[in-house]
Amino acid sequence: MIVAEQKSLEEMKALISDAEKVLVLGCGTCVTVCFAGGEKETMIASSSLRMATKLDGKDIKIEHATVQRQCEWEYLDQVADQIKDADVVLSLGCGIGVQAIVERFPESWVVPGLNTTFLGLPSEQGVWVERCAACGECVLDITGGICPIARCSKSLMNGPCGGSEDGHCEIDKDVECAWQLIYDRLAAKGKLDSILKLQPPKDWSSSRDGGPRKIVRPDLRFINEELEE
C-alpha cells in the first residue's frame, strides 16, 4: 500500500487560510488502511479544522467527503459538485490523489493534507515499514523475496557492505541489514548460489532515473482510440 502521514493541524490551517469554502476530501483505499486519510480521519480533520479556524476568529465553511479512490476520475466525478463549489480542496489522499483532482478539475485549487511517504506494509499494529521502491525491474527472485533496493540503505545489488554489523545497518542500529536478511533466508532455503553470481550495475532507467514512467496496455484500450492512432 501507499503509506502516508497527516500534516499537522497548524500546517493544514495555513493551507486553507485564504479560503471561504473548503472541502476536505478523503480517500477510501491505501490511506484508509494506514489511518491517514480515510473516512474517519477526514471527518476528524474536518471537525478539528472547523473548531480551530473558529477559535482563530475565521469564518470558513468546511465540509468533508470521502471517495473510494482519489486516483481514479470516475470516483472523483461523484463529488464533482462539492469539488467545484470549494475555494480550496484539502486532499487527504496521497500525492497521486491530489494530482488526479487537479487534472480532472483544473479550475480547482487543491492542496495536500498528507505527506506521502513510501510503499510498504504494516509490520505490527501502528507500525508501517517500507518494502518497495517501485524501481521498475523487480529483483526479488534473486534475493529470496527481500528487496535490496528498498531495504538496503545503499540499494546495493551485491551486498552486504562494510557497514553491516551484527545484522544491522550502520545508519541506525534499529535498521536491519537487508543483505544479512537476504543471506540468512537464502542459506535457510539452500539457495545461496542465487547471490554468488555478481550482479552487473542495475539499469536505473526503468526507475526514476529514466524520468516519469508510463505503461500503455494496447489490449486494454478502447478500439476507437486505437483506430485514431
Binding site: K40, M43, I44, S47, S48, R50, M51
Partner: protein, 66 residues
C-alpha cells in the same frame, strides 16, 4: 467561566451508568441540568466523532461512563 454553567455531554452505557442516571431521576436526586446524558448501547460504541461533534456544538466537556 462559571463552573455551574459548563455544558457537559455524558455518554453513558445503557446497562450501567445510564441505569444509574435513570435511578437517580427515579429517586428524585438532583444533578446539574448542564449535564446532558446520551445513552449508548455500550461505551464501546463511543466514536471519536461523537466527542468532536459535542465540542463542535459548544460542549465544554465530554464524559463517558460505562
Amino acid at each position: 467561566m462559571d463552573p455551574e454553567k459548563l455544558q457537559v455531554v455524558a455518554y453513558c452505557c445503557e446497562y450501567c451508568s445510564y441505569n444509574a442516571a435513570d435511578l437517580a431521576g427515579g429517586l428524585r436526586l438532583q444533578y446539574p441540568a448542564e449535564i446532558k446524558v446520551v445513552m449508548l448501547p455500550c461505551t464501546g460504541k463511543l466514536d471519536m466523532m461523537f466527542i468532536m461533534k459535542a465540542f463542535e456544538d459548544g460542549a465544554d466537556g465530554v464524559m463517558t461512563a460505562g
